[in-house]
């Protein structure tokens, strides 16, 4: 049941003054176990060597290959053609700066996010190379790992209504990152410190809770729970802020 697949791919090279945004069509015979990684590389090799797209691990681990496949953001490398109809439309992720064709610049946005969330363990303890490591409950380590699994693919941000309207919105990925550190006892930041980062419209109060993010997250992160929890905690922290005797 070999099919011929028709790919409609968004094309635009901002560095080329002769290029304008348009769609190109490519036809490819489908092979067994074909993924979009295999298909796009074949198109580049056999039909258009200038076609821009990003793959790195091609194993669903690194987050490089997010794009919009038939209207839905997802990882191209773990999209099998047999799960798609004969006509496949590929667009670059919206929201991020376009590099060309299907390639976007996610690195700049995510690094900026890490700086804004101050994405590291805040502690004044010095590391002592002679001492045993501090103990941690394994169940807690696994809970932290659960939130650490984000691969910064950008799907959640690309699908988010708030992010499209507010380019400075931290997005589900950013809010989840803060939640990860809030869970970690090694990080000594208080709820008040968290409030300063996300207790605003660029943060948790900008989120409309429609959960497109959780829906598209290829790593199935529990974004809904994390956003709900943050909203609740930050709501309280906000109220505390209004009480003068509670203010620090």
């Amino acid at each position: 049941m070999a099919r011929n697949l028709t790919f409609s791919i968004f094309r635009y090279n901002p560095q080329d003054p002769t290029s304008t945004p348009h769609t190109d069509t490519f036809i490819l015979d489908e092979t067994n176990h074909m993924t979009l990684f295999i298909a796009l590389n074949r198109i580049r090799e056999e039909q258009d060597p200038g076609l821009q797209f990003d793959f790195c691990c091609r194993a669903g681990i690194c987050g490089a290959c997010a794009m919009v496949v038939n209207g839905r953001p997802g990882l191209a490398c773990h999209t099998k053609t047999k799960d798609l109809p004969e006509n496949i439309t590929l667009m670059p992720l919206p929201f991020f700066t376009l590099v060309g064709d299907l390639s976007v610049d996610t690195g700049t946005w995510f690094r900026n996010m890490a700086q804004r969330v101050r994405s590291w363990v805040h502690t004044d303890k010095e590391f002592n190379p002679r001492a045993l490591e501090e103990r941690m409950d394994n169940a807690l380590a696994e809970e932290i790992y659960e939130l650490e699994r984000c691969i910064e693919c950008g799907c959640c941000v690309a699908a988010c209504g708030t992010a499209i309207m507010r380019p400075d919105f931290l997005g589900a990925a950013g809010l989840n990152r803060l939640a990860r550190f809030a869970l970690d006892p090694r990080d000594k930041r208080t709820e008040q410190d968290h409030f300063e980062i996300v207790g605003n419209d660029q943060g948790i109060f900008g989120c409309m809770g429609l959960l497109a993010c959780e829906d598209v997250c290829p790593k199935h992160l529990p974004l809904q729970d994390q956003l709900g929890m943050l909203r609740w905690k930050m709501g309280w922290a906000g109220i505390m802020n209004l009480l003068p005797w509670k203010r620090k």
Binding site: I38, A64, G100, R111, E133, M136, E148, R149
Partner: protein
Amino acid sequence: MQTFQTDLLCIGAGLAGERVAIEAAAAGFDVTCLSLVPARRSHSSAAQGGMQAALGNCAMGEGDSPDVHFEDTVKGSDWGCDQEVARLFCDNAPIAMRQLAAWGVPWNRVVPGKSTYFKGGKLFEKEELQEKEGLITARAFGGTAKWRTCYTSDGTGHTVLYTMDNRAVQLGVAVHDKVEALSLIHDGKNCLGAVVRCLKTGELHTYLARVTLIATGGFGRIYRESTNAVINDGGGLIIALDTGLVPLGNMEAVQFHPTGIVPTDILVTEGCRGDGGTLLDKNGHRFMPDYEPDKAELASRDVVSRWMTHHMRQGLGVSSPYGDHLWLDIRHLGCQHLATKLREVDEICKNFLGIDPAVDLIPVRPTQHYSMGGVRTDKDGLAYGLKGLFAAGEAACWDMHGFNRLGGNSLAETVVAGMIIGAKVVTYLQNHHVSFPTSLVRDATAAQQDRIRLLVSGKSGRENVFAVRNAMYDALMHGAGIFRNGKDLEACVQTLQEVHARSEKIGLRSNGRGANPELALALRLPGMVRLALCVAQGALQRTESRGSHAREDHPERNDRDWLVRTLATWQPGESLPSLTFEPASTVWSIPPGERGYGGGKIISAEPEEKSGI
């Protein structure tokens, strides 16, 4: 064109590059890291298994120590490693793991009480001690006497790289991503930085630095089938080799993994076979017991890979549009086992092959996996041949792996070497100053500009970049794959020389504007072919079998003549690398002996020669 100036330029922002960067930034130096992809997408993030350090916290690691780890590492290397370096690594690995814990890695921890585990398809029981509760735990990996591999579930590389990059952000390390280093700038004595192409705009930039570090990871992608990320083209090795001064060490030492899936070559873990999975041929016959009656599928990586290749050569492989393969059968382990103990494998099969391993066979074949060779450095990480140039991680031949690295030792190497070499970089920066002659910098940039102009105009020729790359793949797989012999290697070297000549005559079919991917490949390919020639020429010269280097015509390990490391340099304009050799080690804490697995005859060194040839 822009010029950036910094104290330390790290080419590569994976674990090794960022670990060195952090050490220098913490000492107050200005650091810039370059990466083809955002730092967190570096290939280090793909390592799932874990990293070795003799912490000895878990029950099955009881009695472990850096000494035991050292012995495993030396044996694993088939006595090809530098024993001083291996010792340095083993002694420091526990400190590095604890430091990562302090920085935020959510290591899995010891849970006291009884639990079960699988070995060779059988179920055993162990009991974790109360007093060790909450300390970093470890899992088993091949070739180790103890359970020593620290891990975070199925995402060790990911969590460690994310923690490392967090630390880099905290210390203000600049990372310029989507850029590619095309050449090193040097004056024949000192390395002064690099010429770099931006992969967002296609522009060339120069980076000037007092110290340059090469930490670009493995070069697996010179092979058609590799478990490596598709960006692992060996860029850092190419620019070092192209200086004509810096040698690459042991390029012929290439590790293959028995079970990459077909197509896409994604690795499925050894755990499949450890837990009782079997290998079948096109007739559904389980063939490993025919070759290895005792260990069958559980023989070492090299051995299983070789027999699989042998079996396919007998015409017993399954043919597919992606080439021949064999089957991995884990159906009999049952849904329950697959969903809990082999979850990643279950997911890989479902997500990338669209098959269910509980009812379907998994298509697999041996696949290139790890590069032991790399930029040769001394124990401080300083590259041979140029001052101010360091290397670390998989891109380096620091040389703790010799001819075969143990699973779990390479991820650990990146952070341990990064810690040690980072400190040496700091000392170097404190004591050395250089000047940057403008004409030199201008010439280095102009040379790359010219290459681009020729490729776009097609004035050097009209060779198709993909056709040339395919020719390189074919030649390597035929001559310098898992099995090697003099005749095929000679043909391979010959063919690769022709491919090299063709690679200098590439002309683009697209317009080459902006971040054009065809241009990127065309700029890289001649260097990739040179790396392939270093592999093939090294393999041809080395008339013995050691670790992953298996010569059918020289099956014995020859300590009398080959207890040496190959050093390959490339003189500009030549069509072959020049090879020289140096003693594998200057210290022999453990004299060459039996590995205790893999079998094979050994020609021993004459007693008086033992202390170094």
